[in-house]
Symmetry: C2
Subunit: 453 residues, 2 copies
């Protein structure tokens, strides 16, 4: 069916009785918008109609007694959708959704339990432009309502236009670095906590001499006991300049943005002014609106790297929570991440391949917000680089920690091995052949082998 | 074993090969603290020892080849724990935890998969006093690492002392209301979106005349198209005074705190100054640190009600995410919620009974932070009140929406029915007997019946 640009459409994958789906969907559409419908006077129904949710589709995807792919009902007009919630509307309970459930479960004999996708349209005018409003409405109470996963979100321009999105994106980060024609290399500090500023700066220099384009803090680096973020930014900026004299390459330091939430904006502005190359943000520890407001702030004049910490608590379960491609793809781009770090499909901490593909697609598909650089992470070593290029093309970040620091000859050689691998893969030269001209790559291949099996 | 007050202990329930547990635990202890251990010079090991995590316990709870309840190893000293991570430490991968996993999976023949609880001690000095630091460290990368649920958190005073917790708590809210000897009654607006300020105020008055102690906004009420939060606070304050002339009772209006995240503090202060009775906050949509910083702010001089919206995305899955009693009990109290709304065990949106009990216990057990009022919600009607009192005693909130608005004689009668039920239950008078003197209660019982089956 054709969808209206006046609605935010959310699709939920649920398990419920085949005979409960319609009433449940209608309960959601009313309960999470105007609250009640059938007991409203006709004149009031007319005035609140534009705020009332609609049932867009109910599709059985795994049948009990139902048939797979059967669309039980299509679009309904506001009010029409709500007409069926009569039995639920007066029941005791906090939410109409819950009420429907209660009511339905006491009606008649039990029907087979099925897996179904329910799509609800929520009027966009009900929302203020914030992720809190979005999440509270489309997956607030519902998140607690049994076996239910938020599987798909369709956001109209009337909602998304309020978000400028990434301030730099793919093009902006390439301009900052002056690198246009190859994947970028990001090196992750192996160890941050417990190191002095001098030790950290030495680690930074080792990595910078290897030729990394970006060097990022460990995301768990919160303590400032030995080195404040401000001190790191200043010390690393000097180290980066010295390294550049040797490598001829710029390097951006991504500093972990930490501290009290209401001070993050000031701190982000200050770190940017001090010369930070980028900010690293634990978005799902602090909140999507924090990212969105930092990204929209002109004084936060550096790219923002979104770390996926904590997001697995939301996406990793098969039948609960929010799909990973929504969380780490669609919403991070809308909120303004310039780079999205996510679990690569190559290491041991992985996403299902199809989910990873949808995630990357969400970062890149044509849209009002700039394109985002994907940074698949965990388990990346030089031998994987040809696979990465095949899978992701040119506009992505090779992000490595152990694959750099674990190099037999140290982190500088580790970075060089990656750059040699990137160069070879772009020229369709096998790594084994390229390794004949690159001792670091040769040693890396000896350590970790070639491409993923 | 005796635990040290220098550590934050996190217990994870995982599924993994019986022979992988030790290496995995040790990989976590090192990888999520100092990053590496075995390749450090001895002098450096000494200096970072206080920052290195420890493996506190590994217990098989559901055996494959292991035995149930077997503790595979007990406490280890820092360094001792880390000694085993040698095989993992040099492997490519972003986190030591992931590295261990990878390394372990290539060692020898596969062992039986077991369910196990792993407890890791993280040095408290690694953390700054923020929920972002806490969650990023104890369940950041780990949240993405396969079948894993954060089941238990033990927070030492060195961490929790930084949080003042609830500003009012049970005692403070009772003082505000002058009600000391019975459960409180909270009424939820049935419908907010799409109503004019006059309509909303009329709804408020209806509820206030019923005798509710608190009246709260719908948590999905974000739009300000018809009535800003400020306008509501002022209009309802006047309505509350008028109602008080009739009922003799005070009523607190809990206004939904909405808007851009970096403006929430100013808005909270302003609403408090304007006369709001309390603030309603969608904590898991905005972030725990937002709650913590509002609760710690003297100018936010009103109680804060934590709504559980979105939290189900984190807790509802059986084998992933974070336990509900941690999220809605322990952490909300630490962050400073004065009231915690959570899914009641009585309605259709429910928590497992044991989880609900742990949640309530976390809100009430002796501790440095004030006790919190639990508000079990969804599916509450007057017939359930005796069960609620039996289960929760006196210090809780009877929170109802449909159970008030669905009353055959309207919301005012709905509130009165609840108060009559509370009064009866406290005197151990059956609702049926009490209903002889309370027409509202009689009608409620006709509608919804008595106690839960």
């Amino acid at each position: 069916m054709e969808r209206s640009s006046d609605y935010i459409y959310a699709t939920y994958r649920i398990r419920d009785g085949a005979d409960k789906l319609k009433a449940r969907a209608e309960g959601i559409a009313v309960g999470l918008t105007v609250g009640s419908w059938t007991d409203l006077p006709a004149a009031k129904q007319e005035s609140v109609r534009q705020h009332c949710g609609v049932v867009d589709a109910i599709t059985v995807v795994e049948p009990g007694t139902g048939e797979p792919g059967t669309t039980l009902n299509g679009a309904t007009e506001p009010g029409a959708a709500a007409d069926q919630s009569t039995t639920a509307d007066g029941a005791a309970g906090q939410s109409a959704a819950a009420q429907t459930d209660t009511a339905a479960r006491t009606d008649g004999p039990p029907a087979a339990t099925v897996t179904a996708d329910i799509t609800i349209g929520y009027p966009a005018i009900n929302f203020t432009p914030s992720f809190a409003a979005l999440l509270t409405t489309v997956f607030g109470k519902l998140s607690m309502d049994g076996v239910i996963k938020l599987a798909h979100l369709e956001l109209p321009a009337s909602f998304t236009d309020a978000f400028p999105g990434p301030k730099f994106g793919v093009g902006g980060i390439r301009e900052r670095l002056g690198v246009y024609d190859r994947p970028l290399l990001m090196s992750i500090f192996k160890s941050c906590i417990g190191n002095s500023l001098d030790e950290l700066t030495a680690h930074f220099t080792e990595q910078a001499l290897g030729g990394a384009d970006l060097i990022k803090d460990d995301e768990i680096f919160f303590t400032e006991a030995y080195a404040t973020p401000e001190a790191r930014v200043e010390a690393y900026a000097r180290a980066a300049q010295r390294a550049q004299q040797e490598t001829g390459k710029q390097v951006l330091y991504a500093v972990n943005l930490t501290g009290p939430v209401f001070e993050l904006r000031d701190r982000a502005r200050r770190l940017a002014a001090l010369g930070a190359g980028a900010l690293l943000l634990n978005v799902y520890a602090y909140g999507l609106d924090v990212l969105a407001e930092l990204a929209a702030d002109p004084a936060v004049s550096v790219p923002i790297l979104a770390h996926p910490a904590v997001s697995g608590a939301l996406y990793a379960a098969p039948h609960h929570g929010i799909a990973a491609d929504i969380l780490l793809g669609q919403l991070l781009r809308l909120a303004g991440a310039d780079v999205v770090i996510y679990p690569s499909p190559y290491g041991s901490v992985t996403l299902e391949r199809a989910v990873g593909d949808r995630l990357v697609n969400a970062l890149r598909e044509p849209g009002a917000q700039r394109e985002v650089l994907p940074a698949p992470s965990a388990g990346i070593h030089p031998g994987l680089v040809p696979t990465l290029l095949t899978d992701l093309g040119t506009d992505f970040i090779v992000n490595a920690g152990g694959g750099i620091h674990g190099h037999p000859d140290g982190a500088t050689a580790g970075g060089r091995a990656f750059l040699a691998a990137i160069d070879a893969a772009q020229q369709s030269v096998s790594l084994e052949v390229a390794a004949q001209d690159s001792a670091p790559l040769q040693r890396a291949l000896e350590r970790w082998g070639g491409a993923a099996k």
